[in-house]
Amino acid sequence: MAQVALRNIIKTFDRTPAVQGINLDIPDREFIVLVGPSGCGKSTTLRMIAGLEEATSGEIYIGDQLVNDVPPKDRDIAMVFQNYALYPHMTVFENMSFGLRLKKFPKAEIKERVQGAARILDITDLLDRRPKQLSGGQRQRVAMGRAIVRNPKVFLFDEPLSKSKRSTNRSRPRQSMLPTIRSRR
């Protein structure tokens, strides 16, 4: 885990301002939620921290490092997308281990990390299934698992609960998210 700092972040899309001068310090191990009406720039801010969007001006720090020009893969962050973005042709195990396999982790460690995350998220039985064989809540947990196994400096969640039903919100995911992430610190 690491601290995240935003300094005078501005983002404009073709002269349309999306984010106007954000200054934000998020200490290490802090759990922070951005709240606001739709279109106010929450996702854009997250995407800039992830490196998926380039900030028009301003500075982004992860840890002590200025990451404005660092590509997403080298920022050591994990992101859970609003619509989960699971790889449809891979099993749950392959989905969760994709990042580790790209980084050429030893097989034994990949297996250990994936199974550890699967235990926390209670998806051990689902490791051989493909995303389309999962329910919405299960997909969400896989998406979280994919973030957890990488043990990143920063977790970014872009409205991961927005589309799940109220009942599921109240039950497993919402309750488990915070302790799950805390457990990784």
Partner: protein, 306 residues
């Protein structure tokens, strides 16, 4: 008393079965019409191959005899035997196969890479290029072959390399027809893949090539297969370029070879022509049937919340 009224109501409703039967009746009518048009299409499209098959089983004498052309009175396999023991026909077949396989490989490599970069990498002029690809497809090959001839002559003058009358020149030429179309199909397929998938891959640490190999190609496989089938069919059946650019019997492809060697002057060897065309139509059919199993749309199901 109540019972009587209920029964009375029931019988009243039974007197008007249209209320309940209307949906199924509508459905039945739709089915009739779809069967009607399907049968029409089947007759329209299957008559030529059936006629080819019937004719291929006849001797020349029977073909030219004034009898019912839809019936085989003395079936014979002589056309098949003659053709398959002829060296030239097998050479045509080999030329066609090699040309098609090379064209398919070249086309798929170029168009998958081109479509990926045009669909996903935003760079200066990418939108214009994508439109350019489509426009290139709209140019008919009948317009292109004369300038191509000129180009070949120019190359021959400058470098001494002879490009005319070699089967392998089709390997260079046919991609001009297949690459634009396949690229266009693939752009559409790649564009339909949710952008979050490549962003997730990007965060997971994939580079563009890894993203293409591990995410895009497997997810867009139905599209790639559709493009492959199209590409094979076009290069296998291409007549014009083969006719224009190859002349010697050992350099011809199947469609051109059948026409140039089995029609001598005004003598048409109909039996062998039909047999040759029928055998020539088999490979695309087999490939199509084989690949259909893998042609499963909706592979992206489950990627997102939906």
């Amino acid at each position: 008393m109540t019972t009587t009224t209920t029964i009375g109501k029931l019988t009243a409703s039974q007197r008007h079965p249209t209320r309940y039967g209307s949906i199924s009746r509508g459905r039945r009518r739709t089915l009739y019409w779809s069967y009607f048009f399907l049968i029409l299409f089947v007759i329209f499209f299957l008559t030529p191959p059936i006629y080819m098959f019937i004719t291929s089983l006849k001797s020349s004498a029977e073909i030219s005899a004034a009898i019912n052309p839809w019936w085989v009175y003395h079936p014979t396999l002589s056309n098949y035997v003659d053709l398959l023991t002829q060296k030239t026909y097998l050479i045509f077949f080999r030329n066609s196969a090699v040309v098609s396989l090379c064209v398919v490989s070249i086309t798929m490599v170029i168009s998958v890479l081109a479509a990926f970069s045009l669909a996903r990498m935003r760079f200066w002029g990418s939108a214009t290029l994508a439109i350019g690809v489509f426009l290139a497809y709209l140019i008919p090959d009948t317009l292109v072959f004369i300038p191509l001839f000129k180009t070949f002559a120019f190359i021959h003058d400058k470098t001494g390399i002879e490009l005319i009358n070699h089967w392998w020149v089709l390997v260079i030429l046919l991609p001009t027809l297949t690459v634009p179309f396949c690229t266009w199909i693939m752009i559409g397929y790649f564009a339909s893949i949710p952008r979050e998938l490549d962003e997730a891959a990007l965060i997971d640490g994939a580079g563009y090539i890894q993203m293409l190999r591990k995410i895009f190609i497997p997810v867009a496989l139905p599209g790639i297969i559709a493009a492959t089938i199209f590409c094979f069919t076009v290069s296998w059946a291409n007549f014009l370029y083969g006719l224009a650019f190859t002349t010697s019997a050992d350099q011809l492809t199947l469609p051109v070879g059948i026409v140039t060697t089995l029609i001598r002057g005004d003598v048409y060897a109909w039996g062998q022509i039909m047999t040759g065309a029928l055998l020539g139509a088999a490979p695309p059919l087999i490939i199509y049937a084989f690949l259909m199993d893998y042609y499963i749309a909706g592979l992206t199901a489950g990627a997102t919340k939906g």
